[in-house]
Structure formats: C-alpha cells, structure tokens
C-alpha cells in the first residue's frame, strides 16, 4: 500500500472539525478514501462533503444578511 497523500484540495476531517479541530486528512488512492490521522474518520469525497454541510447547520443564520437597524442598543 502506497503512502497517504494530500489531494488538490486538502480536506479537513469533518468529525474533528465538529469538535473545533482543524486536522488535514490524507488520501488513500487504493481505497479511494480520505482518512484522519487523529480520529477514526474515513470517507470518500462525497461523504466528506456531506458532513461538511452538516457542520454548517450550527450556523443557523449564516446566510441571513442582518440590517444595521436590527442591533440592540
């Protein structure tokens, strides 16, 4: 089995990101999967991207533009 490599985009481990850790993943071309050195996460690109969308759910108003007038004083 060849060594892990970084892809063109260096995906971070989504499981670690959920606990506020930025951990670069490595890519295993034989298994076509990304894997985390720190935790037990493994997944292909589609799984990584889907989990990244899950991460964003905590940002409930991420896409809402807030007018200046809305701030409390």
């Amino acid at each position: 089995m060849a060594q892990g490599r970084k892809g063109r985009l260096n995906y971070r481990c989504p499981a670690c990101f959920m606990r506020d850790l930025d951990i670069d993943m490595f890519y295993d071309k034989d298994k076509d999967e990304y894997y985390c050195l720190r935790c037990q996460f493994t997944g292909n690109e589609a799984e990584v991207l889907a989990m990244n969308e899950q991460i964003k759910k905590k940002y409930k108003v991420m896409l809402k533009r807030i007018p200046l007038e809305d701030y409390e004083d």
Binding site: N10, D20, L21, N52, K56, K58, K64, Y71, E72, D73
Partner: protein, 612 residues
C-alpha cells in the same frame, strides 16, 4: 456623525506561513524555492490591487525577507507614491534564508525570542528597512508585541507610533484547534485599538506616565461572541478565516456573515462616542494558488475581492474612512483620553441564539457580561495590577502572553454544570423558603446608556418563580470610568406577595490563570473585614468558610497576579462571607447575603487593585 475607520494591511511575506508546508507537501523543505518567492509576491500584488481598485489605501508592512527583494521594495515605493500607502515594517515574516543563516533558528514569533535576540532582530530589521527606504518606519507589529519589546523599539526608533500588538482571544482555543501545535497564547487583551502600558501590553495605560508611546491595534476585528467560545481564526474580518470556519454557501459561495461582522463593528460607534474600528490583515499564505483546505483559490480570491469591495462601497457612501496605521495613531490620540473605556454590546450574528454579551475594557479591567446568564460576569481580567509579565525564552513565560483572569467561564466552568459547585462566575442567587434560583438561569437582554463617566447596562427584568411566590428582579450594571469598580444594583421590581421577603446572595467565584488548568492557590488569602471582628483565611484547600454580619468588605489577595479583589455591599441585613476552595474545586468565593422586600435594592461594588 459616526466615524468608522478601517486599516487595511498587506505584507509581502516571501515565505508565507502555511504556504511552504502546504504547497511543498511531499518535497523536502526549501524556503528559498524560486516558485515560492514568485507566488508570494504575486499574492501581495493581488491584495494591493483589490484594495486600490476599491479606492482604499493600505499599510504595506514590509517583512524582513521582503527587504532583500528588489521588486517588493520597488512596489512599496511605487504604491506609496501612487496611492498614499504607508510603508511600514512588520516583525512577522522573519523566516527566509538570510534570517535562518544569521540566527540559526526556526523561531519566527518575535515575542518568543530571548530579549537579547529581540533587540538584535529589531536592530537588524529596522536598519535593513532604513537601508532600503532611507527612513525609519512609523508602524510595526506582530501577532503579539510584549511590553519589553515595545519599550525597546520606542526607545531605539521613536518614529514608531502604531503597532499590531495582539490577536484577540488567540490562546488555548487556537492551540487546540491546531491539534496543540500553534503556540500563540495571547488571551485577555483588548479587541479594539488601545494605548498599551509600559508594563504590560494587554493592559491599557491609565495616564501619560504609563503610556508606552504607541497606539496598538488588534490583529483582525473578531466576532466578540463566536471567538470567545470557539476557534478565533474562524470569525474575524479576514475573509479567508470565514471560509476556514466554513461560513459560506457551498453552491453560491456567498458569505454574508463577513458583512454582518463588519456591520456589527460599525454599530459599536453607539457605545464609543461615535467611533468604531475595523482592521483587515490577510497573510499571503491564505491566498495560496493551491487553495486552502477545501476552499479552492478561486474562492479565496473571491472572498478577498468582495471583502475589499464592501469596504470600498462603504467608503464611497461616506460611511467609512480608510487610514494608514500611522494616520490612525494620530487620529486615535486626538480623540482618546486614557481612561475612556471601550464598550461593545455584542449580538450573536451566526448561530441564531439571540445571545448577547457586553464587553468592557479600560486601564483597570476587561470584563464580559453575559445577558444569557442574567447579566453574570463571565470573564474578568484585573488590568489594575498592571502585571509585569515578560515573555520569551529566558523568562517564566516563554510562550504564554495572556493576561491572567480572575473569572473565565469557558476555562473554569462558570455556572454550575457538572459536579462540585460553581466554576468562576460573578452572579447572584435569590432564595425563598428553601428554594434557590441563580440569575445565571434567567435569560435577558441589556440596554446601554452613558451618563457622564458612567457606562450603564440596564437589563430587562427577569421573573423568578418559586412555589408560592413570583419575583420580578432587575439588574443594573454600572462601570464608572476610572473607578476600577463594577457596581451592580439588584432591584425587586414586583412580587406576587408584596409583603414577602426574599434572600439575595451576591457571589463571585474566582481563581487565577491563563489556561484551563488550575494553578497553585496556596499563597492566596481571604478576608472578611468587619469592625473589630475581621477574619482571615490563608489558603490551604480546607474548604473553610467565614462570614460576618454587616461586613465592610470581603476580599482576596492573589499574589501570583499581584491582584487584590474586593467586594463591598449596601443593602438590608447585609452579611459578608468568604469560602475557601478545596482540591477538587479549588476556586474561592467572595459574597454578600441580604434580605429584600418589594421595591428594595441591594448594591455591590466589585473592585480590582494591584495588591502591592
């Protein structure tokens, strides 16, 4: 009219942090690679273009490495002439072949070097700058600038009047986010520009004698709620940090959060006599052609272009004034008195929680009030001590530049959530017939007002429900400029039984430290001051308590941070108490109890002073 000032800072960093490791994955380290140098300068040119196309002037902070690059020097001179950009000098970006050969180290954070090396590097870098430009810079900076370093620079190069001097709440949280590999510990400082004291950079100067001679600005303007809880590097006016936090729409690449963040900073003018501030400072490593994590270069570029475009739009609308760092220093000095506080009533603009924090900073303290916990003080840094805290190799704090806390709810528990009572927090409990309700559980909102020297936070009244009594209670928190005190009034606004009497217990649980882990409390001393009947408890972790009716004050001396913290009270049937911690729950408690009828008020004053 309100004035919203922005500093946009670029640095031609010839060997950007991250870039060498990221772009060079699979290759042996070579910081002199031509491709790396060329790309780094290209990124700098792109950043400059983004600002200039939007009518914004910049401060060009030359790095040591860039002073050896003729093209970078020529570009700086050209942009100074053409756009009015300031040519300044940063102490970031030290790594390059010349630096490594001379100093024989891979260290790159100026505050972590020995004092001897700091002086040598400063002389080296400033003289090289002078050799290339024929003058000494007026602005400098790093992620953090310790007081000894600032004092040395100011003595040797008095032209310097502005410096990037801390990165707000970049400490243990950032360390953890980087898998415990990023050693920048600088919690506990101001979030907005300030005049550092000569003794401790984080503590603002209280007068001319304490003035370090520079105006400090923070590295980025950060979300005062999201950064307090989470990784600071996801929530600042650094467009790529917003991408790092994945705070954008994957399909459209829109990131309105960045503009909300900038706008909330604009709003802070309401609390600061019509002035508010932003800074944007993106290292070139964040605009790497290889992309950064899951963000491709195109998205990195888009975020920077659109970030600059938003500032440019505000400028065109007359809602923003761009300044260079040295221009800002002059402006700041012209408008600011030493004791004028910085205030920020900050709303959650990301999670939809409607939480609200109030941050207060002056030469005597930095405090955070959490309205989601009934107005509890959840962070307190006793700047009044002006603590000597040298950092760098050869000192007691090689990496740790944080200003110590007395209260920090994230690192030391806050309101009771687990096992052994409260962690550090300043709150109150209301008790009636054996029932007890902590105001930390009473969510509310605050309204800011200014009355002369007083900054007043008036909280919406909260309802406290006992089995057979409902109490409506209001908290008013007053910070009086220059007093080193926080006054809290608790007023019974209404009771379902007007004849009832409730007990109130005002308390502060505290300790000291800069991280999550406890420090040795053995040298602390608790005291209840009462006429002819005072009592002391030297700390021995024995879980002892003492109280006195009518006590004049309760206090604790915290020698390791040279701080005396005192609580005083006025109100019916007051009694002061202190509690010593024990090994499993080592924090101390200062407090007062009292009894309140309808419409009555119980008032406390929390004061921090230097202990010696």
């Amino acid at each position: 009219m309100d004035k919203f000032v922005v500093n946009i800072i670029h640095r031609p960093e010839m060997v950007p942090e991250y870039a060498e490791k990221v772009t060079g994955h699979g290759k042996a380290e070579d910081i002199g690679r031509k491709a790396l140098l060329t790309e780094s300068l290209d990124i700098f040119k792109t950043q400059q273009r983004c600002a200039h196309e939007n009518g914004l002037k910049t401060t060009i902070q030359m790095t040591y490495a860039s002073l050896f690059n003729d093209e970078a020097v020529a570009l700086a001179k050209e942009h100074h002439e053409k756009y009015g950009d300031e040519i300044a000098l940063t102490l970031l970006g030290l790594p390059c072949k010349e630096f490594r050969e001379k100093y024989k180290t891979k260290d790159f954070c100026i505050w972590m070097f020995s004092m001897e090396d700091k002086k040598a590097i400063v002389r080296d870098v400033f003289e090289k700058f002078h050799e290339r430009f024929g003058f000494y810079p007026e602005s400098t900076g790093s992620y953090y600038m310790d007081a000894e370093l600032i004092n040395y620079i100011k003595a040797q190069y008095p032209t310097v009047k502005c410096a990037v001097a801390t990165c707000w709440e970049e400490g243990p949280k950032a360390y953890h986010t980087c898998n415990n590999s990023w050693y920048t510990f600088m919690d506990g400082g101001p979030w907005a520009p300030w005049i550092p004291s000569k003794v401790n950079t984080h503590a603002p100067a209280a007068n001319a004698a304490e003035d370090s001679g520079i105006v400090a600005i923070p590295h980025l303007s950060r979300d005062l709620l999201a950064c307090y809880d989470g990784n600071g590097s996801n929530f600042g006016t650094h467009p790529q940090n917003v991408l790092r936090g994945m705070i954008y729409d994957t399909k459209t690449w829109e990131f309105p959060y960045l503009y909300n963040l900038i706008d909330q900073y604009r709003h802070l003018a309401k609390y600061n006599n019509g002035y508010s501030y932003n800074m944007m400072f993106v290292g070139p490593g964040w605009m790497n052609k290889m992309g950064r994590w899951e963000a491709p270069y195109e998205l990195l570029l888009k975020s920077y272009e659109e970030g600059c475009a938003y500032y440019g739009k505000l400028k065109k609308e007359g809602k923003l004034q761009d300044m260079t760092m040295s221009e800002f220093a002059d402006y700041y000095r012209s408008k600011k008195t030493y004791t004028e506080p910085e205030c920020a009533l900050w709303n959650d603009i990301l999670y939809g929680s409607e939480k609200q924090l109030f941050w207060y900073c002056d030469p005597y303290m930095r405090a955070c009030v959490n309205m989601d916990q009934g107005g509890a003080i959840v962070d307190l840094r006793p700047y009044a001590a002006k603590l000597e805290w040298p950092v760098g190799i050869g000192t007691e704090h090689i990496q740790d530049a944080s200003y110590p806390f007395l209260i920090q709810e994230k690192y030391r528990a806050g309101y009771f959530t687990h096992y052994a009572g409260e962690g550090t927090v300043r709150s109150a409990k209301v008790c009636y017939k054996g029932e007890e309700v902590d105001l930390c559980l009473c969510r509310t909102k605050a309204h800011f007002s200014q009355n002369g020297k007083d900054r007043v936070l008036t909280l919406d009244p909260v309802d406290i429900e006992f089995e057979d009594l409902t109490v409506k209670l209001q908290s008013v928190i007053t910070f009086t400029e220059g007093s080193s005190e926080i006054k809290i009034d608790r007023k019974i606004v209404e009771m379902s039984d007007p004849a009832a009497k409730v007990d109130i217990q005002e308390y502060m649980v505290a300790c000291y430290g800069t991280t999550e882990y406890t420090e040795d409390m053995s040298s602390l001393k608790l005291r209840v001051e009462a006429k002819g009947n005072s009592v002391d408890i030297p700390y021995e972790y024995k879980c002892r308590e003492a109280s006195r009716e009518g006590a004049d004050s309760v206090s604790c001396v915290v020698p390791p941070i040279k701080t005396l913290v005192t609580l005083k009270a006025e109100g019916p049937e007051k009694a002061g108490f202190v509690r010593e911690g024990y090994a499993f729950s080592p924090m101390f408690t200062l407090g007062y109890t009292g009894k309140l009828h309808d419409k009555e008020v119980f008032t406390t004053w929390l004061k921090v002073e230097r202990a010696d």
